[in-house]
């Protein structure tokens, strides 16, 4: 029982990373209609960026830990920076292709992903080597029914859930959300209703990038090592989460993230190499059984 609970905690911890990343993935798909395969690299930029930003704050750290205010600043800067890079990527790489067939945007996204991985790798001050992630949070450990859970894990899980609720409300209840829904359904008609689609899409990418940064910080806080390749695997897993939950659906993305995280941890507990395969097994099964995902609506094409 205790070990079951312990695995569940780890599963939720990993799931919250997937969920935060999948939220951005699914929003970009839902609103812009493209699979941004470079989304995982935004996570890497956020995590690696945090490493460098934390270095700038070195002078205020005491024995390798940072005061709360500094941690807040570091995270905020990392979010704004990653969000800004996401907006830049959209403006440079995706915007000119917006009215082209989807496949072209998808291939471009693969190229962007390769660029975002390999460009920092080629930079002399970044390079390919993994680096230790600074300790932003000093976790307190609690024991519940024999399983230990840290304050960092609790924060991560709550953060993912709160973010999902906030985004859901944003899309359903605000002016920006209404504009997002309009853009997702018909970009041209939306622009003729006075909606600045470039702005709406930029904001979408900004939110996605900023959440990817948070996701990267969460991931690196529990697996404290950052490198330029870390985005690709996590990006794939968050894509699986988004598809599992029903791509384009915000609640589905979080649900998918948590299911995948838990499944992966339990599979790893059974066999350490099997854990990595489980994501793709789930993807294949969901595509065969319910291609629209758990929350997705089946659309019947009228002929």
């Amino acid at each position: 029982m205790a070990s079951f609970l312990q695995y569940l905690v780890y599963g939720l911890q990993l799931g919250s990373v997937y969920a935060l990343l999948a939220l951005g993935y699914t929003m970009v798909y839902g609103i812009v209609g493209m699979i941004n395969t470079a989304h995982g690299d935004f996570l890497m930029i956020g995590a690696l960026g945090t490493y460098f930003i934390a270095k700038l704050f070195d002078s205020v750290s005491i024995d390798g830990t940072y005061p709360m205010l500094a941690v807040g600043c570091i995270i905020l800067i990392a979010m704004v920076m990653t969000g800004g890079i996401a907006v830049g990527v959209e403006a440079i790489a995706y915007r000119p292709l917006r009215n082209k067939p989807r496949m072209i945007a998808l291939i471009t996204a693969v190229g962007v992903s390769m660029f975002l991985t390999n460009f920092p790798r080629a930079l002399p001050f970044i390079g390919p080597n993994p680096r230790p992630f600074p300790t932003l949070f000093t976790p307190k450990t609690f024991t519940v029914l024999g399983a230990s859970i840290t304050s960092t894990q609790i924060i991560m899980i709550i953060l993912a859930a709160v973010t999902m609720l906030a985004l859901d409300r944003l899309v359903a209840k605000t002016k920006m959300g209404a504009q997002m829904r309009a853009v997702s359904m018909d970009k041209d008609a939306a622009s003729l209703m006075g909606i600045n689609i470039d702005k709406v899409i930029s904001i979408t990418f900004f939110i996605g990038g900023a959440l990817a940064a948070v996701s990267g910080i969460c991931y690196a806080s529990v697996y404290p090592q950052v490198e330029v390749y870390m985005g690709s695997w996590l990006g794939n897993m968050s894509f699986v989460s988004a598809v599992l939950g029903g791509i384009g659906d915000i609640r589905g993305a979080m649900l998918g993230g948590f299911i995948l995280g838990i499944a992966q941890i339990f599979a790893t507990a059974i066999n350490s190499t099997f854990g990595y395969a489980v994501g793709f097994i789930i993807l294949i099964v969901i595509l065969l059984v319910k291609p629209a995902g758990i929350m997705g609506k089946v659309t019947i094409e009228k002929v």
């Binding site: 944003l170 209840k173 002016k175 504009q179």
Partner: protein, 259 residues
Amino acid sequence: MSLLEVKNLSIQFGGLRAVDDFNLNLEKDELVAIIGPNGAGKTTIFNMLTGIYRPTSGSIELEGESLVGLKPYQYAQRGISRTFQNIRLFSNASVIDNIKMAATMHCKDNLVSSLVRTRTMVKHERELDEKAMSILEPLSLADKADLLAKNLPYGDQRRLELARALMTNPKILLLDEPVAGMITTEIEEMAQLVVRIRKDFDLSIILIEHHMNFVMPIADRIKVIDFGRTISEGTPDVVQKDPKVIEAYLGGGYQNVNA
């Protein structure tokens, strides 16, 4: 000064001059119809008047302000709204959401007030709902407000497009073939509807249409376009009798047959 002044508007796609030297002065409360055979360049004119295409040359001025080079959403914000020949609704949204989405540019509530639902924001939302219903009512869509747009019958979808365009508070309404695919009785209803909303919403209207029996009774002026050029213009009576118009519509042999 006219409400809308369009001068020497031309657009070239490669070697094709799709619209050549189009001029239009639209006065306030006027209804001008643009007619012409298929492929004459009518919808292209609308696309230039809404910022979708940028004209190769010429000017578009709304109340003295030049609009050429602005983005489509800026045209809409300045008060030009349109419907589409092939219906372009937000098909997966409900009827009421469709038209509320068209009002977002006039919404002044910020993110925070919307997320926490402040009292003023809730009040604004209620006003918006009331305005939406006041537009749906005369278009006999009020009882269908919660249906998904894609599930509406064709005639209702056409009227919903009209409602959505009205919700943007336009000064000028552009109607692109509002009765395409409709039967005679529906065409008559739509003509009455256009007359009514023109009066109720104090609108200036430009419309494109093939159906002469729809256009003739409601238009103040008609411009006839063929191969991108204006071949005739004037009141419906004048245009109807213009031999150039008859030739464009029925072919050059028509007069010989008559004679």
